[in-house]
Structures are given as structure tokens and as C-alpha cells.
């Protein structure tokens, strides 16, 4: 879920309120990770510790996307994200904490898009992540272990809430499968030069809850996918943007796939095939064929809203289309993120994120 690294920039730009030096396109992602820890292959995840923040790494996120069906028969998408960005490695209590947090929440309907964002500094209780019980929050938004906790991991039974000026939601998430390490046991390589991150997912949530939209409250059910990732220098200097897919197929299998575009016009694709039982298989670089199709004019840019994905060794040959072409997240650094539907050899639902389209 490389795409989210991009929020490192969002944060940098938010701090631009203070006139922080202008980020130079996406190239800034390739900045040196001086003083920060770097991911190394072969490390094993340790829970619940790894559910919490890794303040020696520059960036980290807790990222949930949900494909929902309303009692009114309408398809909805929802997103809850907490990003951590460190100005310096390590943490301190109080205002001198170098940790900055950003929250992003969105709801997509077939014809509308709602989004909100939050910013906070670490060290003063406005935002943070605790483990045992697990709780991630920024302002009143929260993704937290529900009481009473059932059997399983700290992430197995969560409650997720967020509100914006004109929308809000409260969902209960219950995992029906295991946590899935991405890449090589959680070491996810992001470029041919070897940039990488730690990355695991919980893609097996069932969701029940309530969506509040202008003029109505809708009971919804569906599926959700949680991504956890942290790193310090995630992108190669010449990578300009990405297209990222998380797909729940009706067969019970799941696919995480991404394409990183570079300035030379080429790309780097990778991903993980997840069996219905939660067994991950890493897709070797550039095996997954990711082809953009028709574009839509979104916020003045041409953004591909139809895609073709092919992975011959799994018999995958699907068309991916956006449920709402205009799923634009109009935050300080805007991007496209919304629910999608697949047709072809595997039918299903999922989420697509696209950045770097100008």
C-alpha cells in the first residue's frame, strides 16, 4: 500500500502553513532518511507492539477501507485513516514531540463524495495510538478495540467512528481471518532499487454499522480491509505516483496490487495474492499487469476510472470500474480514493487509490 506514503507529503504541505519549504513534486519522497530507522528484511512482527506507533520511522499509517451495502440497497464506500509523520526520530512527551498526526475520513456514495481531515501534534493527547487495548485516535475520530473483546488479536473486534461537517459513521469491524503480512513476511519492496516498508493487513473484516449522511441515517453491512505500514524512505526519487488496489473477490480470495509510476513513463508493479484462508503469496515484481482504461475528468484532471488487471498464473483477468468516478478527496493535497467493482474472471468489490495525476 505504497500509495499512502504520499501522505508524508500531505503532512509536509499542511505544515506549509508555517511556510515549510515547498515539496518538489513527489521527488521529495526520496529524501534521505537521516537518523530514522530503515526496514530490514527478516524481521518478524511482534503483536500487539507492532500495532502501535514506531516513532523511529518517519512515516506510518493505520488505514481502513470498507465496501458497504446500505439497507436502502445503495453501494457505499468508507475510509478511515490515521497517518503519523515524524519531523525527527523518537518521541517526547508534551509539545516538543516531533510526531505529527493526520486523520482522513471519507464516505463515497454512487453520486457523492464526503471527506474530512484532521491534524494534530503528538505528546499532548490530541492524537495517538495505544496498544492493549488497541486504540488509535485523532480528535473524536477513533479506531479502537471494542469491549468486551472477544478471542483473537487486539485488532479482531474494532469500533471505527469519524465525523465531518456533513457526514459521520460508526462501524463495528469483526475479523473472520488472520492478519496477513505483505511482501516478504512483512518486508514490502517498493522499487527496483530496494526501497521498502514494513507492511501487514487485516483484510477479513465484516462490517455492520450506521452511516450518517445529510438528511438520512443508513444501516450498512459489508467488508473492510485494514492496512498497517511504516517506513522511512519509501519511494525511489524518480517515482511520480501510484495506483493501488485492494480487492475482495466473491471467491473469498483477496488481492493487494499496486503500480508505481516513474518519471520515465515506466512502472513497477507488485502485490500479494491472499487465499480465502489468509495465506499470502507475494506476486513477483511486474508479474501483475495493470492497464489504465477510460478516464474521467475529475477536478480538472484526466483520471483513469476503468482499469484492467491481469495475473495469468492465477487466471486473473478482470475489469475494475469506479462506483463513483468523482471519488475525489479534496484535502490540502487532493487525491482519488474510492470503492470499485470488478467484473471478469473474478467478481468482487474493493478500493482503488490513485495519486500523482495532474
Amino acid at each position: 500500500m505504497n500509495a499512502k506514503l504520499y501522505f508524508f507529503f500531505v503532512l509536509t504541505l499542511c505544515l506549509g502553513e508555517l511556510g515549510v519549504a515547498k515539496a518538489q513534486g513527489f521527488a521529495g519522497l526520496g529524501t534521505k532518511a537521516e537518523g530514522f530507522a530503515l526496514p530490514i528484511p527478516g524481521r518478524r512482527f511482534e503483536f500487539p507492539g507492532d500495532h502501535g506507533p514506531h516513532s523511529d520511522f518517519r512515516i506510518e499509517w493505520w488505514y481502513v477501507t470498507a465496501n458497504l451495502k446500505g439497507a436502502d440497497g445503495i453501494d457505499y464506500g468508507a475510509q478511515w485513516t490515521l497517518f503519523r509523520s515524524a519531523a525527527a526520530p523518537g518521541d517526547k512527551s508534551g509539545w516538543s514531540s516531533p510526531q505529527v498526526w493526520m486523520g482522513n475520513a471519507a464516505v463515497t456514495t454512487p453520486d457523492r463524495q464526503f471527506s474530512a481531515e484532521r491534524l494534530a501534534r503528538g505528546g499532548v493527547g490530541q492524537a495517538g495510538v495505544n496498544t492493549s487495548p488497541f486504540s488509535a485516535w485523532i480528535d473524536e475520530w477513533s479506531l479502537a478495540e471494542r469491549e468486551p473483546t472477544g478471542a483473537g488479536d487486539e485488532l479482531s473486534h474494532l469500533r471505527m467512528t469519524a465525523t465531518g461537517a456533513d457526514f459521520g459513521y460508526l462501524f463495528d469491524l469483526d475479523a473472520s481471518g488472520p492478519i496477513v503480512p505483505q511482501g516478504d513476511n512483512g518486508f514490502s519492496v517498493k522499487s527496483a532499487e530496494g526501497q521498502a516498508s514494513y507492511y501487514y493487513s487485516q483484510p477479513f473484516y465484516t462490517v455492520t454499522g450506521v452511516l450518517r449522511l445529510p438528511g438520512k441515517e443508513v444501516a450498512v453491512t459489508g467488508k473492510a480491509w485494514l492496512d498497517r505500514e511504516w517506513s522511512s524512505q519509501p519511494l525511489a526519487a524518480n517515482q511520480t505516483g501510484w495506483d493501488w488496489f485492494s480487492l475482495h473477490f466473491d471467491s473469498g480470495e483477496k488481492l493487494m496490487g499496486f503500480r508505481l509510476r516513474d518519471s520515465a513513463g515506466g512502472g513497477y508493479t507488485s502485490g500479494t495474492w491472499i487465499s480465502a484462508e489468509g495465506q499470502p503469496t507475494t506476486i513477483p515484481p511486474n508479474q501483475l499487469k495493470v492497464t489504465p482504461g477510460a478516464t474521467a475528468s475529475v477536478a480538472g484532471r484526466a483520471v483513469p476510472v476503468k482499469w484492467h488487471l491481469a495475473l495469468p498464473e492465477r487466471g486473473l483477468d478482470v475489469s475494475v470500474s469506479a462506483i463513483n468516478d468523482q471519488a475525489w478527496v479534496a484535502s490540502q493535497f487532493p487525491y482519488w480514493e474510492g470503492p470499485v467493482r470488478t467484473t471478469g474472471s473474478f467478481k468482487g468489490l474493493g478500493y482503488l487509490e490513485m495519486t500523482g495525476y495532474r
Partner: protein, 802 residues
Amino acid sequence: MISSGLGALLSHWRRRPLQLAMLLLGLSLATALWSGVQAINAEARASYDRAAAMLGQDRFDQLVPTSGEEVSQETFARLSRAGWKVSPIVEGEWRVGTSRIHLIGVDPVTLPSGATAAALGVTSDLLAFITPPGLLYVSSETAERLKGNSTPPLKVSPGMLPSTAIADIGIAQGLLDKPMLVSRFVVSPDQPMGRPELSVVAPELSLKKPDVQGDLSRLTDSFHLNLTAFGFLAFAVGLFIVYSTIGLAFEQRRPTFRTLRSLGIPATTLMGLLLIELLVFAVFSGLMGVALGYILASFLLPGVAATLSSLYGASVDGALTFRSGWVLSGLAIAVAGTLLSAAQSLLQISRMPLLAPAQPRAWARASERLILVQSAAALVLLVAAAALSEWGSGLVMGFAVLACLLLGAALLLPGVLSGFLALMSRTSTRPVALWFWADTRQQIPGLALALMALLIALSANVGVGTMVSSFRSTFTGWLDQRLASELYLTARTDEEGDRLARWLRPRVEAVLPVWNAEGDIDGQPGQVFGVVDHRTYRDKWPLLEAVPNAWDRIVSGDAALVNEQLFRRGHHSLGDMITLPRGWKVPIVGVYSDYGNPTGQAIVAIDALTHHYPNVSRLRFGVRVDPQKVSALRREVVDTFGLPPQNVVDQANLKRRSLEVFEQTFSVTAALNVLTLCVAGVALFASMTTLSGMRLPQLAPVWAMGLTRRRLAELEFWRTMLLVLVTLVLAIPVGIALAWVLLAVVNVEAFGWRLPLRLFPADWLRLGGLAILAALVSVVVPLRRLSKVTPATLLKVFADER
């Protein structure tokens, strides 16, 4: 036809360049004073707006503590976890060396965009901003002042106000010694749906709506109203010049008008031409005036800025910015003033019969009736002034009283002069004397306007002079009482303060702590001081009013003295309960005068102070010691404790500084006062010179009867002196009344203190000298002309058509 008509009209000014100069000068001066004052006000207001905009108080809702100065930082987490999108701010006075800086701590991450205006423009590193020692945003002026002190690294930002600094909230909490405290919250304009009520989440806070006006501009309103009133007064005096010059020029051109009309120029065209002429003059002098006003304002502004900062703690840039607003308003008022002054004359021309006698009359010959009407109007105004001062209240009312008083006195002047002259002529028997009185009386209408202007200027001068002098003498006496300690010390830390006090006690007569807590008193920012029980206070503290045994009650710890400002503002009386910071309620047992301080202040026993405000900083001390030993002690303190010299101030030094602040406060008033007098002098000069040219018909017969030109000139001289002296004598009681209004009404409203009226006859003598000098200057030209007039010219009078 039109162009030759215009040529004919303008030729008048070519023949009388002095008159033209007077017209332009009068209008320029009036506009200059007006627009100068406006420029100063505009500059100050812009500074206040920036102060308000700096933290978005003018646009965003704020959450402020319901009582006390700060709330715990924990409230911030509570608010945000409940869905209130707010940004915390801590602020306070930060002492660096000898400077006081208004330090504002912000959280750049949550601050709504637009809340910091242009204040923070150039930083490059959030990390440096939030990580100790942090960064401090200041104006270049403040950076210069802070040089050499130990401060966090400074960043100069052009948008910053003087004496203000912005830092990260965490850094500011440390510098201000307000750990884990928040002064207020800025409420973001976009709030999520369904958040709970504030009273549920944080009952210790209350919501404050955006304050478009800003606290500072409210506080300083009275000061600016003062300035504006002065500007307007000067303008009004200037208009007297314009009115008289225009009236004279129109009268003198009556033959020209008649000729032009006879030659076929329609009345409307003639009016139009005259209007164009006036507008050209108005725009020209308006521009001149605005330019002069700009120069004037840039001279006065530093003084005003210093006054505002010492009086109200308001930061105003010492440099003037060119603003189109006051330029346009200056031009507009010049044009409006010209048209107003010319309205009567234009009306007369439009009604003038084609073949009306073309003899120039120095203004319409004022009849006894006109003088009676004027006097009646004057009496009505004076009665109104008395009534207003008796039953009215408020600052605007105070100025209304001033206006009625001045205008009434001015209108009464011709009546009084005329009565005086009638009386004099009745006591005279000799023919020359009889002629002198009668001729003088006949001249009153012509000189009335100039004399009225002079009266207003002189009265204003006497009034303001009396006020300032009364204030100065009261203030000096008060300072002697108030600054009773021989030496004032400021420690750098509380711990050093304690050591200092311990060290001093065996060496001196008494160590008097000067400790104070800040917070809301009666809902407005103020200070609470603590005093020890010492005869210095009992003997010397300047109490205006107190219950018996007031000091004993103070010492008991359960009573407070309040300063006059606080007492008057709250309409308190002795024994009333007053709410000190953190909701501590005590009875008022006495009132003391506290000049030069805009805020409320209370005094309690020192033990009560430290009990209720345990965090009070214990840095400052007054030391009672034999005056002989002061300098030795001072040296010893500096040597032993290494205190910087500016932290050890002796009484004389402090007094001198206080007096400097005082002098600054009134320097602008004094400058405007002198300028107003100058304008009045010019008005007199203008009237005398123009009038003298028309006096030949009156003088020729007397000359023919045997009075020499020299004797005539002498008589003219004495006439002027006499009129000016009578005006001066009349101006003194008016001025005293004015001073009374200023001291008892305006000052109480504007500053919150009332002062005793004291009279300074020596000042009047000086003013009389000045007035006579002005009169001398204004008669010199006409007298020279008169003494040089040839007999042929005088004879010609009899040959002329009249």
C-alpha cells in the same frame, strides 16, 4: 465668452496675491491639521487591526476561560476528543532584560488557516520551531531591541507587530512560566456534525464571538476621539479664514460680477464659473494640505506611538504608511469646507439684481439685529453646555459640551465687544475718542470672524494648557508619594528574589515586595498587588477615599484597595464586593489614584496574595533605605548578585522616566494646540490685511479733518491691540471652563481619573504675549500701507462714485 469671463474673475486674484495666498494657506492648513490627525488615527487603527487579525480574533470564535487567566492543557485534549476543533494559544507578558514582549504561543498544526495572517511567513522548519529552544517570530524592530539578550533564535517577519513575538505553544509555555496552561482557544470555522455543547465538555470555558473591533481599539477609542476632536477644531478654525477670504473676495468682485452680467453672461454661467474657480482652489489646497498633513503626521506619530504604548500597551508602528483613505478624506473635507464657506456668498450672487449698487461693502453690514440674534444663539448654546455637563454622561457628551461651550463663546464675542465699545463711547467726550470707539464698533462685523477664530484658539489653548499643567502638578506630587522607596530591584528568578530579600533585610530599613498577579478583575484584565504592613504605605500611599482603619483591614488579608479607574468604571462605592482573579471576592476599603495606568488594579495584603495566587512571581522589591546610602547599596547589590544595572533603579531615575512618559502623553496635544493658534493668527492676519484695503473711505474724512496719517496708523494699531486683548480676556474664563470639562468629564471618561483643577496665570501671560505678537504681525502690513498711502489716494476717495 466663458473663457474671458473666467479670465475677468481670476484677474482679481492676480491683483491681490496676498488674498489668494491667504485663501490657499488657510485651506491648506485646515486640511493639513485634519488629515494629519486622520493619518495618525488610521495608522494606529491599522496596527490594532493587525493585532486583532494576528490571532484571528477578528474572524474566528474563541473559547476563553470563564474565570482566571488560563485553563489546564488537559482541557485541550478533552475538547478535541469531544469533537471540538480548536487550536490552543498561550500568551502573556515576557520580560527580556528591560523589555516587555507580548509573547504568543501557537500550535501551528491546528491553527485554522488564515488565523496567523502574514505573521509567520518564512520559517523553513517545523522541527526547529517546536523543539527547544524553538524559534521566535518578531518584527525587525523587536529583533533589534532583543539583541544581546538570551532568547530563542529570532526570525524576523514583516507582518509582526512591534513588541510582539510568536513562538510555538510549548516554547511559549516555558518562557512565560505557564507550564501545561492554555490562555484561550481559536475555534476552527469548520466543525463536525453532532458535537456536544460546550457547557457539557468544558464548563470552565465560554465562547467569545469574533471581535471585529478588537480590545485595543476599544481601549484607545477615547484617545483617538480626543485627537479627532482636536483635528476638527483646527479645521473649523481654518475654515474661518476660508470663509472670510472668500466672502471678502466675492464682495470685492461685485462690480466685476455686475459688469459680466451686463455683458450677457447668464447668472447660472457666472455661478458655474465661480464654482469651478472654488473647486480648483479647493483641490489644489486640499492636495497641499494632505501633503502637509502627511509631514505633520510623520512628525507626531512617534510621540503618539510612544503614548499609546505607555498608556495602553498598544503597539503602533512609528513609521507612517501612505493610505489612500485619509488622502481622499482630506481632499473631500477641503472641498466640502470650501463649498460650505462659499455657500452664503454664492447664494448672494445668485440673487444679486443685475443693476444692484456695485459698491464693495466689507461683508454685509451687520446690523444690531444680527448681533442680537448671534448673542441669543450663543446664550442658548452656553445653557445647553451647562445642562449637558450637569445631566449628560459619556465621552461624546463631554465633547458636545466642549463644542457648545466654544461655539457659544465665539458667537457671544461680537455682542460682548459691541457692548463694551458702546459703553466706552458713552464714557468718552473728546471727538477723536468718540470717533475711535464708533469706528471700532463699526468694524466689528468685519473682524468678527477672525476674532471668533482667535477666541476659539485662545480658549482651547488656555483650556488644554490648564488641563496639562493641572495634570502635571498633580502627577508630580502623586509620584512623590507613590514612589516612596529609595531603590527598586528586579531579580531574575524567584529564587534570586528570595535570596535578595534575605540579604537586604538586615542592611536596610525595609524591603517592600512589589509582587503582582494578573487576571480578570470585575471581568476585565487587571493586576493585583500585594503589600506588607509598613508605615511607607500608611503614611504615603495616595488614597482618594477610604474607610477608617483601611490599612488595618488590608493587613487582615480580607479587603482590597482599588485604583480610581477600576472604582469609577465599575461605579463602585466603598464597601462593595469586587471579584479578583480566580473568583476571589473581597470588599473595597479604599480608592487610590493611579495615573498613567489604563487597567484596573487592586492591592491586598502580601500574604493573601501569595495564598490566593501561589504562582505569583516574586521578582520585584522596593527598598526603604537612608537616601545617603542608596548609591553604595546599589553598587553592593550589583556586585553581590550580578544584577544587570537596569534591574536596580533608584527613585530619582524612576521618577524621571515616569515624567517622560507623562510628557509624551501630552506632547501631541500640545503640538496641535500650538498649530491651532498659528492658524488663528493667520486668520487674524488675513482679515486685517484684506480689511485695511477697504478702510480708506472711512479714514479719508477723518484725515481730511486733520488727523495725520501717522496718528491714524497709531489709532489703527491700538484698535487691533484692544480687540485682541478683549478677546484674550474673554478667552480666559472660557478656557478655564474648557479645562474643567476636560478634567472633570473627558478625562474621567477617557482615562478613568479625575484631577483637581489648578490655575496657572503665568501661562496666560505667556499666551497673552503670543496673542499680542500675532496681532502685531497681522497689523504690520496694513499699517505700513496706511502710513505710506499718498494724500492723492485719500483725496481720490471723495472723487469716486461713492
